[in-house]
Symmetry: C2
Subunit: 254 residues, 2 copies
């Protein structure tokens, strides 16, 4: 049985303010909750008895048996039927020393929760361990973002930092940025380490950051010079760029 | 002034049944409506007087001046402030003869309206003129899909067809399909013409279609064999695959 105040509490985690105050975040549905349980400290689980029985040992501070109707009432997603988990946001420290040996993503003002989550999932696919976000990028613990990561949030570390300052401090690391008017990425030298900066959905990379970018790259449309869409969705563009960096790295062919 | 019955009518176009009965579809917001007006027959425009005045000549059967509050009330999107357009779904004939000279996309049971729209936008970017969908793929005239195309629906033709039958009929055309267990696409021969089949978000390409696919390809994660996300979002995967086909075509380098 789930109390009204618990339902209110669960729903409050849709708001960034309450997530920050409590340091918690919400995940819904069997697949996602099961993916997160081994990696994140679990504060509360609200689950159907069958779900609990099927899991064997579960490590959570509180486990509450609830009915399907109660779960539907408590959840933020329409289709949550089996389990809702409340997890503790991990405290992470950006290890700046290792960044020069890796390929990392930088998100500059990404606003859409789904885009941010999809980008985390892409980072995971392409073996990118760190994603560094400007403070005005959407909160990664937004339930829609967590949902869109499809569990990849367990393997990718996400940080928030003042980007201009960070890139000034790490100026020995090559910085790639995507621009609609950048150089064709297929004819550009791409290294196997560095930062790839992806800009805001509508406005791209902010001005203050532009002069920190060493390589302005661009995904060419086809045919070259033809009339195409004005742009690609930012998550889509992130994937195409990351795929090309990794292809070069593996096949060493431009 | 917009009548209650008009508001009901606008909102009814959120349902596939009413879109099919009327042969109409809905677009909201200045950017999208402006992009579609030159390409689609416009049945009705509901717009603020300033918007109408700023446009010069508009070709539409009916133009209704409305207030911002009325538009917000009538629209399906929260942020529609200036204009709502009702357009006629074009009648299109799939020109099968030309398909053998082109690269086309096939969508097998894509369910998410946003994914379908994003894929149209991707097709447009990569110069893919035809997208052929299984009958159970989401309706391309779903308002969320139209929105996600960001106007690309004006340049990409979308058809619905029984895919098994179509591929049987066009068996001289090479068919590529993406599979999680396919061959690494970077080491596979990719032609510059053919069909690329993208499968349903959860289940992939349906069994009946699988033996019509000549080349099973796969986007490799990084590092090879490492633990990554289980899959990529289908729109994201479409973009990475289309980018690689076009790169090969332009640079002729594997």
């Amino acid at each position: 049985m789930i109390s009204k105040s618990k339902i209110r509490f669960i729903k409050s985690l849709d708001k960034k303010r309450y997530r920050q105050e409590t340091g918690l975040f919400l995940a819904e549905g069997n697949k996602l909750v099961s993916d997160l349980l081994p990696y994140f400290e679990c504060e509360s689980l609200f689950a159907k008895p069958e779900w609990i029985a099927s899991r064997g040992k579960i490590t959570a501070k509180e486990i509450v048996e609830v009915s399907e109707e109660e779960i539907e009432r408590a959840g933020l997603l329409k289709k949550t039927r089996d389990v809702i988990g409340i997890f503790v946001q991990p405290k992470m420290v950006l290890e700046k020393e290792t960044l020069s040996d890796e390929l990392s993503l930088i998100l500059d003002g990404i606003q859409d929760p789904g885009n941010a989550g999809t980008i985390i999932r892409i980072a995971d696919w392409f073996g990118i361990k760190n994603v560094i976000c400007s403070p005005d990028t959407v909160d990664i613990y937004n339930p829609k973002t967590i949902q869109a990561t499809m569990g990849s949030i367990a393997r990718v570390k996400v940080f928030y930092a003042e980007l201009v300052q960070l890139l000034a401090e790490l100026e020995h690391i090559p910085v790639y940025g995507t621009f609609l008017e950048g150089n064709n990425m297929y004819t550009e030298n791409l290294g196997s380490t560095g930062f790839i900066v992806m800009g805001n959905e509508g406005n791209g990379i902010r001005n203050e950051l532009k002069n920190r970018i060493h390589h302005r790259i661009h995904i060419p449309g086809f045919p070259s010079g033809g009339e195409t869409s004005e742009s690609l969705n930012v998550a889509v563009a992130t994937a195409v760029v990351c795929a090309e960096f990794r292809r070069r790295q593996v096949y060493s062919v431009q």
